[in-house]
Amino acid sequence: MSLGHESLAEFLCWQTLSAATPLMLAGIGELVGELTGVIDIGIEGLMLIGCIVAYTAAAATGQAWMGLGAAAAAGMASAALFAGVVLWGRADQIVAGAALNLLALGLSATLWSLYQNHCANLGLSTHLPRGAGYDLVAVPGLSHLPFIGPVLFDQYTLFYATLLLAVGIWWVLRFTRLGLMIRALGESPETCVACGIPVRLGRFLAALFAGGCAGAAGAFLSIMRTKAFAFDMTGGQGFMVLALVIFGRWAIGPLVLGCLFFGALNSLQQILQTTRYTLADPWMHALRSVPFEFFQMLPYVAALAALALLSRRHPGPRALGQPWPQEVA
């Protein structure tokens, strides 16, 4: 129990929102990408690259915003590589995404050992210096409300930004010409060509946006929430995002709800793992006999179950995963 939360419920709710933030952020990016027809299963790798780049950039400069910016830029650069291979090279999107994951795994490990060597040579600590990580931002006035205040208005900056982004993207997709274009790119690229919308450029920009979001989500994990880096710190959250986009049937409202649900599951899992030995509740006592690995497995099983129960053959954008142009002359 940390940060002076008054009750377990309060902490659980706070933790839920905090755990859902990277899922929402990466999910919004992936959603926009998939709506234009680009499915990027390398989102996990993009998040991992965001984690390591944010950490090293923030630690090197001592500036938290440098970390966040560098993470978003690195995410975009990696996404540009992916999009180039997929859009202009016409490579299979799924397999290229899997390659991106492997690349991110290797690159983050390489960067991390280079950084550790560098620190060891200079006799520096690899810990994040004070001020290089983001702290919680309490919204003045509102954070003193009972229950809602500490839960909703005492979060990291990126939480508020993500909420704004979600509303903004919802509005763009629903009410603007740009939103129509985005959806048309994924549903009917032929129509876009007829209207003079450059298909590959549009998809490229959407993939860049997805990469930036995923990079920033990675930064959230490494320089906001934990202020540390570990090799497998994304732990499959990027894959969870993919499931959530399908689960939300390519709409932003259900996507956000799904993220909150999985955030809740995730924080419940963490709390059960850490507190089941200290709490005296009788039902907690029963949980003690369950191996904690089953709690860690819970989000993945729940994602599978949710997909199995709810994905009643919603096809998604019609041109999802297809190369463009379809026929090669």
């Binding site: 499915i39 299963i41 590589l81 291979v85 090279g89 016409r90 490579a91 299979d92 999107q93 799924i94 397999v95 290229a96 899997a98 390659a99 991106l100 994951n101 492997l102 690349l103 795994l105 290797g106 690159l107 983050s108 490990a109 390489t110 960067l111 991390w112 050992s113 280079l114 060597n117 499959g236 894959f239 993919l242 499931a243 399908i246 191996p291 690995e293 089953f294 860690q296 497995m297 993945y300 099983v301 994602a303 599978l304 997909l307 199995a308 129960l309 994905s311 009643r312 053959r313 096809p315 998604g316 999802l320 995963g321 297809q322 190369p323 090669v328 002359a329």
Partner: protein, 379 residues
């Protein structure tokens, strides 16, 4: 969800010695990637010459390094088959890692807990069969979810990887945990259940040649059996294959089971032949298998060559890492990922060129038997 792209269609047909061209392309892609990565390392301040010499000595400089590389190639070959066979049938199985872990933990459970008193002649074949079966069933789970609940295989196999990971951790923390440790770790498998070593003083167990035999078997399956042809046809164009009377879904189930079985076998061989016990972090061969499969152009014999290359790469880079050069961890993964991307680009480029050639009537010789067939139908 994405329909399977025919990027594996990129094989030029009807000409002899195609495989030399394909091999040359793969070698060129690997050389290009290695040059790229070495340049990158040189920029960061490593000496490429020193790295290459140390790498070559560590991977192939003598009997012991060579056998280590082959032993490393064994699980890569089998997980490469798990990915390659299924990709070829149009099923994007990204779950070799989970199938690998499930196979390994089954073998550990059988040899240390459930059949501790059985004679090795019974226990080893039983462990191998059960591990392969477990891997195959784990893969089938994804197929069943797709068939009955429309869950994309790509996603379910990825999620099942994590389920498998925590499942084996729970087992290694619970019923399979070694006495006297707090870590999630199995006891040592009794030495009589280890796979026999073929070359004295090395780790070259008989699972390695067996894995290569499996690859040859699947090459035979692909090229000389009806089922092999039908899986390929279903991967190229499921609708057309269905119209031709091929039970596409049944063949996909079959190939998923066989592929998962290969990955499970990789786990069994690794645990009975190399590590002899299991910890929570048991190797990432499943993910590397995708790279192996693509580098081998989804051809079992090509996959065998690709696995040898990656085995040399892994062992060599490990030696450079341990040496005074202190190569950063993860470079081998970067090489693998870049190889995938290069092979994808190459495959897509060749597919385009192939389509261009076959779609121009004047480019085809008159009255040629191949002109009427769909592209890539020849084998």
């Amino acid at each position: 969800m994405a329909a399977p792209q025919a990027w594996f269609l990129a094989r030029r047909t009807g000409r002899g010695f195609d495989w030399i061209v394909t091999l040359a392309q793969a070698v060129a892609a690997c050389a290009l990637v290695l040059a790229l990565v070495l340049t990158g390392l040189a920029v960061v301040g490593y000496s490429p010459v020193a790295i290459v010499t140390r790498w070559a000595c560590g991977a192939a400089g003598g009997v012991y390094p060579l056998t280590s590389s082959m032993v490393e190639a064994c699980p890569l070959l089998l997980t490469g088959l798990a990915a390659g066979l299924t990709f070829r049938a149009g099923v994007l199985n990204i779950g070799a890692q989970g199938q690998f872990l499930v196979g390994a933990v089954t073998a550990v459970g059988l040899t240390t807990r459930w059949l501790p008193a059985a004679a090795p002649l019974v226990a080893i074949p039983l462990a191998i069969a059960a591990g392969a079966l477990a891997g195959g069933l784990w893969a089938l789970l994804a197929s069943v979810l797709e068939r009955y609940r429309a869950v994309p295989v790509v996603l379910s196999t990825i999620l099942l990887n994590f389920v498998a990971l925590y499942l084996i951790r729970a087992l290694l923390h619970g019923p399979l945990q070694a006495a006297g440790t707090a870590a999630p770790q199995s006891p040592l498998i009794p030495a009589r259940d280890w796979l026999g070593v073929l070359i004295p003083l090395s780790s070259f167990h008989w699972g390695v040649p067996a894995a290569f035999l499996v690859a040859v078997g699947f090459w035979w399956f692909n090229t000389h059996t009806t089922w092999g042809f039908e899986t390929f046809a279903g991967g190229l164009n499921p609708a057309a294959a269905n119209l031709a009377g091929i039970p596409v879904r049944a063949r996909q189930f079959l190939i998923m089971f066989l592929g998962g079985g290969c990955a499970g076998l990789a786990g069994v061989f690794q645990v009975l032949g190399v590590t002899h016990f299991m910890t929570a972090s048991f190797g990432d061969y499943g993910y590397a298998g995708i790279a192996v499969a693509l580098l081998g152009r989804l051809n079992p014999l090509g996959i065998a060559l690709a696995a040898i290359f990656f085995g040399l790469l892994d062992v060599g880079s490990q030696r450079v890492q341990e040496s005074t050069l202190a190569l950063p961890q993860g470079v081998a993964d970067v090489v693998k990922a870049l190889v995938i991307l290069f092979m994808l680009l190459l495959g897509a480029y060749l597919a385009r060129r192939h389509l261009q050639v076959t779609s121009l009537p004047e480019a085809a010789p008159p009255a040629s038997a191949g002109a009427a067939g769909p592209p890539g139908s020849g084998n």
